[in-house]
């Protein structure tokens, strides 16, 4: 490892990492040994404070109804019950909407979905609270309900005004195109199914203050919502996140309501209160990935060039806004995926339905937007008789005048050619296609298909102000270090990466640094750990704090080495030692820190970072919303049983660009997991509601099926692009959480090819999502008639 110098690095230098061979390349998760022993604690595992009460949420059984009255008297009289809280008990604002205040914590006047909170019962035991919850008497007068996105559109029920992005003259381009194509595209909901359900533990402290342990990706928002609901300043609330048992977006905005209920109860009873949702409650009450419905018209040249495109995109927001507008925006931004759209108009709108409020989920609308263009290309390939790989190549960005997105962002550092070259160095695509064709020629009941799935994914919160982060690094007088930053750990390895950033910057072994529980009293006003931004934003903030400390320590080192403090810029920090080229002696980091303490030098520093030069104007549909793009490409191969509709993944090869990886094995884990989660969204994971009463029919592990062990392909290879540092990012790395989720869409392209092989050539495959065995069998049958 090359030494760090004391002088602050420029952005360009920061992105040139010390060396490719980082010690962190082989690192495993910083909590791995605690995970496998069961020592790792989650909110529900924390020791209970004395006198802790347990909460149970009373929810609406109706998708839409007028609330005619709430009688809590029987519940209050039940054994062990300490409080029954409703909207009337809220001292501050009865609202937990993440952006728009349209989401009451407890229903007032009307309920808008099955599972909406009406009241909260706290009792000495969870069993007592559950039993008493059944005694809360709520009068309902049922109202007509909108239970599908189509019903919402038909009723003109929207949660947003239209957002349009347009370039060129799409109508004319389509009309003049040699080949026209029109149709509809739908994708379904997806339950996060984090293994750890929502949980909060609230402990009242003196002076009316609260300390909250919460399983959330967004502790600052939990803090803000609790303060608003209670009518208190945020300074009275501390939120801590030990770690999460998975988040995937589901704990970005939707952890807050439960923390608010428990906080209200803690304040009202003066006792600690825990709320933990069981799986059925979690699945019934919280939102999911937005289903999207799109209508499109497209014009192509005969050789498959997309000439013009118009898309109307609708996102099912559920009953309240939550983050839906931003989700829809990201869908619009990603309509291009990796393809140049010369003439395009896309318009998006959030639809209101009487279903749980849909929320962030890995990709955040990006997968839904990208799915649309991939589906259009699949249909066009069938109609034009083109190889689905070739039609994609022909539409990639690149070449004269083909380097600007439909919203006007210029594409710099286009890595798609690089990841394509990397993939093709490992997978002979022509040979794979030939193998598939040969197999299909000799096999009647089983057909194979392959899918190429390129991904270009924009990195940054599209609400530009969110792109900021803070850190607090504290060196103790013995040379050991505590690291605080604003990001939360949900399994993605953020703490591991941050430890390595700090170790690299301070030039000390990583085991000298302890990653602390994320807490709003250590780093304030943080953004959610979301949008794949955790390492990008917090890494820069951690680095900034370490640079400040290095600068202070370098002056101390100069004095100790007999040099003038003006030589401080030349002081190096490396492998636990501190040195200067002009001095013979080397100091240990510990000795230097001890000297600094004795010389009354501050050993604690904050760091702060904001992403420069990003902005977007939604009125114009123009701007540079993204700091950069992450790239990757996957080849997905599978086979379909034409008698049952089942399919099996045979091989998946991925080439992915994470810049200079901060921790290779952790990044590979993110990529593999994202692929299978994306495949699950489009195949086995199906959310079903009762068509008239709106009840969720798939509310448990027994009825909702995420991918299992044997679904992972046996050939599952991920290659990281090497020697490709990204300018202006922490140590040249790139975001990894969301982009690989989209690789799962490659399975649908492959399914199209396999299903098409059951019928005559050139026939459009009509495959609805999710592609369950039933859906695939329907498509096979349609192909054969």
């Amino acid at each position: 490892m090359a030494p760090q110098t004391a002088s602050p690095l420029t952005d360009a230098e920061a992105s040139n990492p010390p060396s490719r061979e980082r010690a962190s390349a082989g690192a495993i998760h910083e909590s791995a040994y605690r995970h496998v022993t069961g020592e790792a604690r989650y909110v529900d595992d924390l020791p209970l404070p004395a006198g802790c009460l347990f909460g149970w949420v009373v929810t609406s059984p109706h998708p839409h109804a007028r609330v005619t009255g709430i009688d809590t008297s029987r519940a209050k009289a039940a054994p062990g019950v300490r409080a029954v809280l409703t909207a009337a008990d809220i001292p501050g604002h009865n609202d937990v909407g993440a952006i728009i205040p349209d989401e009451p914590l407890f229903a007032e006047g009307e309920v808008h979905t099955v599972g909406q909170a009406v009241a909260f019962v706290v009792a000495d035991t969870a069993t007592q609270a559950r039993k008493a919850a059944a005694l809360v008497e709520v009068g309902y007068e049922p109202l007509p309900a909108l239970l599908t996105i189509d019903a919402g559109i038909a009723a003109g029920a929207f949660l947003s005004e239209p957002h349009t992005i347009q370039r060129g003259e799409p109508k004319r381009a389509i009309a003049e195109a040699p080949v026209q194509l029109a149709g509809e595209v739908r994708t379904g909901a997806q339950e996060h199914f984090y293994l750890e359900t929502q949980a909060s533990l609230v402990v009242p402290e003196e002076g009316g203050t609260l300390r909250i342990a919460c399983s959330t990706q967004h502790p600052s928002e939990v803090q803000a919502k609790v303060a608003e609901v209670l009518g208190k300043p945020r300074s009275t609330v501390v939120v801590e996140v030990p770690r999460m048992g998975g988040g995937f977006g589901g704990k970005e905005s939707q952890a807050a309501p439960y923390a608010c209920m428990a906080a209200l109860a803690a304040l009202s009873t003066g006792r600690p209160v825990k709320v933990w949702l069981n799986r059925d409650q979690d699945m019934t009450q919280t939102g999911r990935r937005h289903p999207f419905f799109s209508r499109f018209e497209a014009g192509f040249s005969k050789d498959g060039q997309l000439l013009g495109l118009e898309v109307d995109m609708f996102a099912d927001g559920g009953w309240a806004n939550d983050l839906s507008r931003s989700v829809l925006d990201r869908g619009l931004f990603h309509l291009d995926n990796a393809y140049f759209l010369p003439h395009v108009r896309c318009t998006g709108r959030v639809v209101k339905t009487n279903l749980p409020s849909n929320t962030a989920f890995r990709g955040f609308g990006g997968p839904q937007g990208i799915f649309v263009i991939e589906e259009i290309l699949n249909r066009a390939a069938a109609q034009l008789g083109l190889d689905p790989v070739e039609i994609r190549r022909r539409n990639f960005y690149g070449g004269e005048g083909r380097d600007t997105t439909h919203y006007g962002q210029k594409i710099q550092n286009d890595r798609l050619p690089d990841v394509m070259a990397l993939l093709e160095s490992r997978v002979d695509l022509a040979a794979r296609q030939a193998d598939i064709a040969a197999f299909n020629a000799q096999s009647g009941r089983v057909k194979r298909g392959g899918g190429l799935m390129p991904v270009k994914f924009g990195i940054s919160f599209t609400a530009s102000h969110l792109n900021q982060a803070g850190a607090l690094v504290q060196i103790y007088a013995d040379g050991s270090v505590q690291l605080n930053h604003g990001g939360t750990e949900m399994g993605q390895g953020l703490h591991s990466k941050m430890l390595w950033v700090a170790a690299t910057e301070l030039g000390i072994p990583v085991d000298r640094i302890r990653a602390m529980t994320t807490a709003t009293d250590k780093v304030p006003n943080t953004s959610a750990t979301a949008a794949s931004s955790g390492a990008d934003l917090n890494g820069m903030a951690v680095r900034a704090a370490c640079v400040t400390l290095r600068e202070r320590l370098a002056e101390v080192a100069c004095r100790a080495l007999g040099l003038d403090p003006s030589e401080a810029a030349g002081v190096g920090f490396e492998e636990g030692e501190v040195f200067h080229p002009k001095a013979q002696e080397r100091l240990t980091f510990e000795a230097l820190v001890a000297k600094a303490y004795m010389q009354q030098v501050s050993l604690s520093a904050t760091g702060y970072y904001r992403t420069p030069d990003i902005a977007y104007d939604p009125k114009l549909g123009r701007g540079t919303p993204f700091h950069y793009f992450a790239y990757g490409v996957a080849w997905v191969e599978l086979e379909v049983n034409g008698l049952t509709g089942e399919h099996r993944l045979l091989r998946v090869d991925i080439a992915h660009d994470v810049g200079e990886s901060l921790a290779d094995r952790i990044d590979i884990g993110q990529i593999e997991g994202a692929f299978l989660q994306g495949w699950g969204w489009l195949t086995c994971e199906e959310i079903l509601h009762h068509p008239t009463d709106g009840r969720l029919l798939t509310h448990s592990a027994g009825t909702y099926k995420i991918p299992a062990y044997g679904d992972a392909p046996l050939h599952f290879e991920v290659s990281l692009l090497r020697g490709a540092p990204q300018p202006g990012t922490i140590h040249g790395s790139k975001a990894v959480g969301e982009p690989p989720f989209m690789f799962g869409i490659g399975a649908v392209t492959a399914l199209h090819q396999a299903i098409a092989a059951f019928g005559p050539p050139g026939r459009e495959v009509r495959l609805s999502m999710p592609a369950t065995a039933e859906s695939v069998l329907r498509a096979v049958v349609l192909q054969q008639v």
Binding site: H35, T37, R41, Q492, N641, E646, T698, A712
Partner: protein
């Protein structure tokens, strides 16, 4: 009244937890092991992810003896184990795995394979790996899949978990857990336990069982409990009176005759039946392979699956196709029924009050029989059937169908044979033309429902296709084994 020869009296619950004897304070007998570990012992390593045995996060290992009497560490779902079910047994949890020498090899292998991300499923994965470490029969790659498929992970994509499993399966380190595998089978442990209005009995002989039934005709039976426990964990019920059949040795035996006949005690665990079926019935093995999680097969019993009488139970169709008979016992005596006659209506069996299902007798395979099973579900592993099928034809020397037994689950209120379709096959040559002519009759035999597992259209269409698949698959081999996914080409399953 006596229990296993010991005098009566309300006994206490006790078991050995991570090597230390534990006396359970006065708790309801329907307290799950998971709640006990977390709420009473403060052992929070074991997690609740679903409370229905469908995610594996609560997996622990229990030392039990298999149908051959060999001691085995068996991964089971702590969320479905009621405390009396571990009475007197050894239980190991993730918190107690690491020894004085550091991590258990299963823990080390998983951590170092980057097999944990968020870590919440990890303790359960470790315990499934723990069982794999001491198994000596993981001799084919698919068996490792079957070992691990009961543990859902939402983060990793499973590749690193598979790496860890491959690295440690069957390694059997000579440690204290291996030493426990030399312990002789103890005498059956009887139990008579009460708490408040709840009572739980584990008689160890039929004689005592009859006495109990006479005294408590309203009692419910429990065996593996993998279904009954859901009433506790999902519906929050507290069954007042349970009689467990797992202590009665006569119900736990499994014999395989030289001619391939099987005699299966009602208490035989599904994992043991899977093991025995390998040698005598590939069609039965196919069904058991995707029956459910290893944790469920390690605990669930043949009798439980049949007496549950669910229309989507996985065993009935194939056992009916094999011509199995149910042996029913009561104080008054014994009677036998063809298994298809055991199922009367939705979740209703032919059992009279005071009567139990004691055994299943599967006759030897007739000469020139073709047999197969299929299970279709939304997810291949760890899922409930949308359609389950067991099919057999017996041919004469000319290839004409002498007997046809086509049984399906998920198609009616009970597991049911396709009478009209069978009739159309009998007496006809076993050819594609015959099958294609008979298949449309399935629409007369069954009017399936639509639900979240599959529509009526899917079920109706796919059973016709399965009949065709049956013909095609058995044209090469009388009872084809399931192709390993590691070598699969033509078969998707």
């Amino acid at each position: 009244m006596r229990y296993g020869g010991r005098p009566t009296g309300m006994q206490s619950l006790h078991f050995i937890l991570n090597g230390t004897p534990v006396d359970v304070p006065g708790l309801s007998p329907t307290t799950t092991l998971l709640r006990f570990l977390r709420d009473r012992e403060g052992l929070t390593g074991t997690k609740e992810g679903c409370a229905e045995g469908d995610c594996g996060a609560c997996t622990v290992a229990v030392l039990e003896h298999d149908a051959k009497g060999r001691p085995r560490w068996r991964a089971q779902n702590a969320c479905l184990l009621l405390l009396p079910m571990v009475q007197g047994k050894q239980v190991v949890t993730v918190d107690g795995l690491a020894g004085p020498d550091g991590l258990h090899p299963a823990q080390k292998a998983l951590a170092e394979a980057t097999g944990s991300q968020c870590g919440y499923c990890t303790p359960g994965v470790v315990m499934a790996l723990f069982e794999a470490t001491y198994r000596d029969d993981l001799d084919e790659p698919w068996k490792l899949d079957a070992q691990m498929c009961g543990n859902l992970c939402r983060c990793t994509g499973y590749r690193p978990i598979r790496d860890a499993a491959g690295a440690i399966a069957g390694s059997c380190p000579q440690d204290r857990h291996a030493e426990a595998l030399h312990e002789a089978k103890p005498a059956a442990i009887g139990l008579s336990y009460s708490h408040g209005v709840q009572r739980y009995f584990t008689p160890t002989s039929l004689e005592v069982l009859w006495e109990l039934l006479a005294a408590h005709p309203e009692a419910r039976f429990v065996n593996g409990g993998t279904d009954l426990s859901l009433e506790v964990t999902k519906r929050f019920e507290t069954p007042p009176l349970l009689i467990s059949l797992e202590g009665i040795e006569a119900l736990g035996t499994l014999t395989v005759s030289g001619d391939g006949a099987l005699s299966i005690g009602a208490s035989v665990r599904l994992a043991d039946l899977e093991d025995a079926s390998r040698r005598v019935s590939p069609a039965l093995e196919r069904m058991l392979r995707y029956f459910g999680a290893r944790q469920i097969k390690n605990r669930g019993t043949v009798g439980g699956n049949l007496c549950n009488a669910s229309p989507i139970g996985d065993l009935p169709p194939i056992l009916i196709a094999l011509g199995a008979e149910a042996v029913l016992l009561s104080r008054q005596g014994r009677r036998t029924l063809p298994l298809e006659d055991f199922f009367l209506d939705y979740r209703k069996t032919a059992l009279e009050p005071g009567e139990i299902l004691a055994r299943i007798e599967v006759p030897p395979t007739p000469p020139n029989a073709r047999t197969i099973s299929y299970k279709l579900s939304k997810r291949r592993e760890l899922d409930i059937s949308s359609v389950a099928a067991g099919m057999r034809v017996v041919l004469d020397e000319e290839g004409v169908v002498l007997e046809a037994r086509l049984a399906f689950g998920g198609m009616a209120a009970t597991p049911k044979r396709a009478a009209k379709t069978e009739a159309a096959l009998v007496g006809q040559p076993w050819t594609e033309a015959t099958v294609e002519a008979a298949a449309p009759l399935l629409a007369q035999d069954f009017k399936p429902l639509s639900d979240h597992r599959g529509s009526s259209w899917y079920r109706s269409t796919v059973v016709k296709n399965l009949l065709l698949a049956f013909f095609e698959e058995t044209s090469q081999q009388a009872s084809p084994r399931l192709a390993d996914r590691h070598t699969a080409t033509a078969q998707v399953r």
